[in-house]
Subunit: 266 residues, 2 copies
């Protein structure tokens, strides 16, 4: 299956990353949901708590994955077809309401839904995240380039102690991935050239678009992103975690500490 | 003299801050040049170094104040008359070139000018700044609401170890003070109401506009902002540091630690 469907209106562009080492990296920009933080376990726990409280049976892990994939689809389509920018939390809310419809005989209150939506602001960093970010921050500027809005990113950074220099991404561009603006306006905000900026993500599609704008790219493998078991050795599972390298990325790293080491962290 | 000239097209608005204590403060937004950091001594030093190197005589302190006031005038006029948004560093550069014209028989290179302009990104925090920001950050979100652009604010935060949660201000609004957007879009970025946000500044004009949008206001006295001696007891001097309370602000504080204490920091 191609990384990007042929019919999708936004193509990755024809730019190329510089060759590794040719251009010093002045900033690392991070995909956040899945790359910096684990969304699977925190969302699963929040759904499990609700199910216990409301006494309905569900596969909370599968629901967490469905909810995340619904959001990714919604924002991807919004970007691709030029739909007006609206808050990510509204998108999460709509998708969640649709997902839970009919699941619980007792129904759900606004408070139930709000509480679940806010779980996106209480995700957990991966074990290497904080140390890796601090190491990378000694080398260059670090910032999220996430679909999360300004307020989401502030709340998550405070919860997870993410030491960002600045918050970039969807709110700077008023666009979601893979709209060109989310990449280009985030780079422009730092007064840097795309080649001086490295996009870090656990998702190869994100990197394909970043590379198309001439950014450097770092693919970080997050085996547990969807709670596992992962897709390995040809076996399919509920997981879509990407563990095989499909593109020609500037860096491929096992985690952020590995990435920092490859980038010269001592 | 009125705080705002009668002929200036942008009026402060007719909103009112809530009464002290009526609305919990969710975020503190800071004027930066003069309020968070001392610009006078770092700019004076940079000008002194250049004068020594190029062997021309000047009053570096007076030049620093003139350069700062030229920037404040340029951005105020740009906001008031709806001029297109352009980088702050370009404004600094133009004003500096005009200010130095004819000062030095040897002339100036682009490198000389760039180096001076970049001194704005190497300002020093006031002695209470870092401790005060950390105390306020335990109470609420903290962010600059400065005329400094995204890249300026990142560089300054890294230089001065300013622990911002997020960078707001001119780049979010693509407007300079006192354009309504710089206040309103910064507040909106946090999904808060103006009454939940406190503008912190050593400049009463800034607070007049913030109050007009319904924000809470904290006037912090920075006696040394313009290098002193300050305007006191009716005596005029080169300084425009504001040491007397002219408006009806939510808080009046001697420094950030005092402000934090007044806001409930223990």
């Amino acid at each position: 299956m191609p990384l990007i469907p042929d019919s999708f209106p936004i193509r990755p562009g024809t730019g190329r990353s510089p060759r590794r080492g040719d251009v010093p990296i002045r900033a690392y920009l991070f995909d956040t949901y899945g790359t910096v933080c684990d969304f699977y376990r925190p969302l699963r726990s929040a759904l499990e708590r609700l199910a216990a409280e409301k006494r309905f049976a569900c596969d909370a892990g599968a629901l967490a994955v469905e909810w995340r994939n619904a959001y990714a689809r919604s924002t991807f389509v919004a970007a691709g077809f030029g739909m007006p920018f609206r808050p990510l939390k509204d998108i999460h809310r709509e998708n969640l309401v649709a997902l839970l419809a009919g699941q619980c005989p007792l129904g759900f209150t606004d408070h139930d839904i709000d509480s679940l939506v806010s779980a996106w602001n209480r995700l957990e960093p991966w074990p290497d995240t904080i140390e890796g970010l601090h190491r990378l921050q000694r080398l260059a500027i670090i910032a999220p380039l996430s679909n999360g809005n300004f307020d989401d990113m502030v709340a998550l950074a405070r919860h997870a102690s993410l030491p960002w220099d600045i918050i970039l991404g969807s709110s700077v561009a008023r666009a979601y991935k893979p709209h060109p603006d989310i990449y280009l306006k985030s780079v422009e905000a730092l007064c840097l050239a795309p080649a001086e900026v490295c996009m870090v993500a656990a998702h190869q599609v994100d990197l394909a678009y970043a590379a198309g704008h001439g950014m450097q790219t770092a693919f970080v493998i997050r085996r547990d992103e969807f709670g596992g078991p992962v897709k390995e050795k040809g076996a399919e599972s509920m997981s879509a975690a990407e563990v095989e390298v499909e593109g020609d990325w500037t860096f491929v790293a096992g985690d952020f500490i590995d990435l920092a080491a490859q980038c010269g962290s001592s």
